[in-house]
Symmetry: C2
Subunit: 151 residues, 2 copies
């Protein structure tokens, strides 16, 4: 297993992985060719310093992914925080430590870039994910609040 | 009252505001000259596309601030999310609608930049903040989990 910053070649596998999820199934569209919105979004990620998708690979195949964004801020003496979004592991590879290894890798990248904190929000429906993050040392000290913006 | 993207000239007032807070008091160092870490952090924010501090001004004086970061992502058909951190209003200006107006401004910026969601985490100790965000339409659907990274 190895970890890499995703390139556009990994994008179809990332979208398939995001779609293969109880919440993601209703939100994503995995089609060939890939909907243009995903390609444009990937380009925007690459253009933003500190923003990346990290993939876990087994024999060049994407078996897991997460988004890591390094966000400089003023609070806490000018601390940069690392933020994680969209954590997924391919079904057949679950419960084998892939998620944990992927997280350890992301945490190392965050530390190497001087981040003082790593943060994420997890849907309150995802009870197992919550326990997984607690095992890694995350503390649910905050409420994660969202508001959908309409056009 | 007007709203602007902060410049380096607003930074001392922003740090003073972050320090004048029950949680911030233990985390910040408002001194003159300003600790270098804040100046470096501000420069990093300005260098990251989509990251900014927005200030509310009354007669050129900073009376409120928040950090707005636009984060492109792959999930939800390549949705960009807007994230808010570090929301503060000067004590003597609280309960006068400054926070709400500042939020409405940030939401308009997020919409104008094509964001499909606006999100934040709020410390579970901040009960009043929680109610404020609910009044604005935010839903506490997620847990906000944090892990401090040591050197």
């Amino acid at each position: 297993m190895e970890f890499k910053t995703a390139t556009i070649d990994h994008l179809p596998a990332i979208v398939r992985l995001l779609a293969d999820d109880e919440l993601g199934a209703t939100r994503e569209r995995f089609e060939e060719p890939l909907p243009l919105q995903y390609i444009e979004a990937f380009e925007k990620i690459m253009q933003q310093v500190g923003n990346s998708i990290i993939v876990a690979l087994d024999n060049e195949e994407v078996i897991g992914c997460l988004q890591l964004t390094l966000i400089p801020g003023i609070a806490r003496l000018g601390m940069t925080r690392a933020q994680i979004e969209g954590v997924r592991v391919v079904r057949s590879y679950r419960s084998k430590g892939v998620g944990e290894a992927l997280f350890r890798y992301a945490m190392d990248v965050a530390k190497a870039n001087g981040c003082g904190m790593i943060q994420l929000t997890t849907d309150k429906q995802r009870k197992e994910a919550h326990r997984f993050y607690e095992r890694l040392g995350f503390v649910a000290s905050h409420d994660g609040m969202k508001l959908l913006l309409s056009d």
